[in-house]
């Protein structure tokens, strides 16, 4: 059975030992963020902060829903110990059967238990955390999903974008200028000079948040994708002030609009590449018109930073599968794609069943065709298990020719400005470069000259292998 909401999920995590409840009072101003960050770096559990300074009982913070592969497995209804490769397989398999959402009456939507409208709107009613020292503000939207819609096609986008409190009734955020939200804004709302309705959703089905990190194709509804992962429809309910639909079991929904003619400063923020970098004051404003929330709302957050955390894990899975599907769609002989969380979607491992310069170039072309989030790709033969970083490093070190094995593509206007090595000027112009490392054997080499990998399974005959394994204990090994 899929989880209905974050509360069900946390209850399960209690049983598996993957959440700790902190009952001591914690300050929303840096303390909750610092604790959460330290726990990520220790590989610890998710954290439910139950008593927050300055806030009444029942207003709580929860960090880290997808911060380990265990928690991702649990959110998919799999055993906690499920190997990463198997999690990838299940995710890919479930995506093949999209399931439409269902719309429920507001009486059946817990997110409508409390409704603040007009002058009653006050973002300071919620314990939005100041996550890192030096952040531009209190990011109430860090582990969120933001709902927007194309007015003509009704295509609804869910994306995970950062939003901080500007004042009582305004948020400031930074969906990337190459994001799908930006696509909708630039295509429809800016030309008409009409504000874009938006809803910022906090604390819903954990899979919905994960899908919001996914590079889903333009025009595809993330609500359907969430249904496929849940193997059951997600329940949606109409907003109070616009016709957007939001998950009915959300903890908090902030409704409003993104104006086309007014802006407020956002950032900086300690972002997913693991740095607080210079993307600041170039975002969007969000004028809040209503807030609906459950009784005793749980504000979900992520103390983003150096991997591994929820972002690097979720993006590993969602981006990895999307890339594999995209490469296949282009006719590239891809076998596996792994996005190592440590590489924070800047570094990708791709295995192919036929390598060489041409295939490597095609892989690079795929990654640089539109908005470019990836700066380094290692292309490998399919005898390498891409989920084993040791094998990947060995192949990269030995098979990638230092002269002809690196293919570089430069571009402008579509780079990922959060790439820490880009200069301020490059970030401002969305200028960047991507490199593909060809760590495959050239297909034109005659088979008899290709170096033979000196591993037990590849350099000895079957007979010797069988003899050795059969006699293993008799040699004195256990």
């Amino acid at each position: 059975m899929p989880f209905r909401d974050h509360r069900d999920f946390i209850e399960t995590l209690k049983k598996t030992g993957d959440v700790i409840e902190v009952t001591k009072e914690v300050d929303w101003d840096l303390e909750a963020g610092a604790i959460s960050r330290r726990v990520y770096e220790m590989g610890g559990p998710s954290i439910w902060f139950k008593k927050i300074k300055d806030y009444p009982e029942g207003f709580t913070l929860y960090n880290g829903s997808q911060g380990t592969w265990r928690r991702v497995a649990i959110s998919l209804g799999l055993p906690p110990e499920t190997p990463v490769r198997e999690i990838y397989r299940v995710y890919e398999e479930r995506l093949e059967k999209p399931i439409d959402p269902v719309i429920v009456d507001e009486k059946k939507a817990p997110c409508k238990e409390n409704v603040l409208l007009g002058n009653h709107v006050d973002l300071y009613r919620f314990p939005a955390p100041m996550i890192h020292e030096g952040d531009g503000g209190r990011y109430i939207g860090s582990w969120d999903l933001v709902v927007t819609k194309e007015p003509e096609t009704s295509w609804t986008n869910w994306g995970m974008y950062r939003f901080m409190i500007h004042n009582k009734r305004w948020l400031a955020g930074w969906p990337q200028p190459t994001s799908q939200l930006a696509h909708q804004m630039k295509k429809y709302y800016l030309p008409r000079n009409e504000p874009m309705p938006a809803a910022l959703v906090i604390g819903t089905d954990p899979l919905a948040h994960m899908v919001a990190t996914a590079p889903v194709r333009l025009g595809e509804d993330e609500a359907r994708v969430t249904g496929s992962l849940r193997e059951k429809p997600i329940e949606l309910v109409k907003c109070e002030t616009c016709d957007l639909l939001v998950p009915a079991h959300s903890e908090i929904v902030i409704e409003g609009e993104i104006p086309t003619d007014r802006i407020v400063p956002d950032g900086p923020f300690g972002e997913y590449p693991g740095y607080r970098s210079g993307t600041m004051a170039e975002g969007v404003g969000f004028r809040v018109k209503a807030i609906t929330f459950r009784n005793n709302p749980i504000l979900t957050m992520i103390a983003l930073g150096v991997p591994i955390d929820d972002s690097s894990i979720a993006a590993s899975l969602t981006a990895g599968i999307a890339m594999k599907m995209g490469l296949k769609h282009r006719g590239i002989p891809v076998v596996d794609v792994y996005v190592p969380p440590e590489g924070v979607t800047h570094l990708i491992f791709v295995s192919v069943n036929k390598g060489g310069t041409q295939v490597t170039q095609e892989v690079l072309n795929y990654f640089t065709a539109r908005r470019v989030m990836v700066s380094k790709v290692i292309v490998l033969d399919d005898d390498i298990d891409v989920f084993d970083s040791g094998q990947v490093l060995h192949a990269f070190a030995t098979k990638c020719h230092p002269g002809r094995g690196m293919l570089v593509e430069h571009y402008e206007g579509r780079a990922n400005s959060l790439t820490p090595c880009y200069s301020p000027k490059e970030r401002a112009r969305l200028k960047g470069a991507s490199v593909a490392f060809d760590a495959t054997w050239p297909p034109e080499w005659p088979e008899e000259v290709v170096p033979v990998k000196a591993s037990f399974k590849t350099i000895y005959s079957k007979e010797i292998q069988e003899k050795v394994t059969k006699n293993w204990k008799s040699y004195g090994f256990k």
């Binding site: 101003d29 300055d54 806030y55 300071y124 100041m130 890192h132 020292e133 030096g134 952040d135 531009g136 503000g137 209190r138 409190i165 500007h166 004042n167 009582k168 305004w170 400031a172 200028p177 930006a182 804004m185 800016l190 993104i258 104006p259 086309t260 003619d261 007014r262 802006i263 407020v264 400063p265 950032g267 900086p268 300690g270 607080r276 970098s277 210079g278 600041m280 004051a281 170039e282 975002g283 969007v284 404003g285 301020p424």
Partner: protein, 97 residues
């Protein structure tokens, strides 16, 4: 008791003494800490000379804190937002308003 505020600049060298339009964050402890206002203010790198002023802390675009505090005297509160299009540089937009 002087109040404390915080503002952000891209680089510290962008700071200019005197009358400025600024977005400032109120650092008064409590549930509304970091509330942001746009103001017209007088700022000075010599806070000790601004006897009727408050304290201004300054951070760069990477959030790095300038070790020296400045002084600030708020002259007027301005609208909470500035005219501009999404993804436009707020600092440049402020200059135009």
């Amino acid at each position: 008791m002087k109040k404390e505020y915080q503002t952000f600049v891209r680089q510290f060298k962008d700071l200019k003494e005197g009358r400025q339009e600024l977005f400032i964050k109120d650092l008064t402890p409590g549930p509304q800490k970091y509330d942001t206002k746009q103001v017209m203010a007088e700022i000075s790198s010599h806070p000790e000379k601004m006897t009727d002023g408050d304290i201004l802390r300054i951070r760069s675009e990477s959030g790095i804190l300038l070790p020296q505090v400045w002084g600030i005297k708020i002259l007027k509160e301005l609208p909470e937002s500035v005219p501009g299009q999404p993804w436009e540089d707020v600092f440049k937009a402020m200059g135009k308003s």
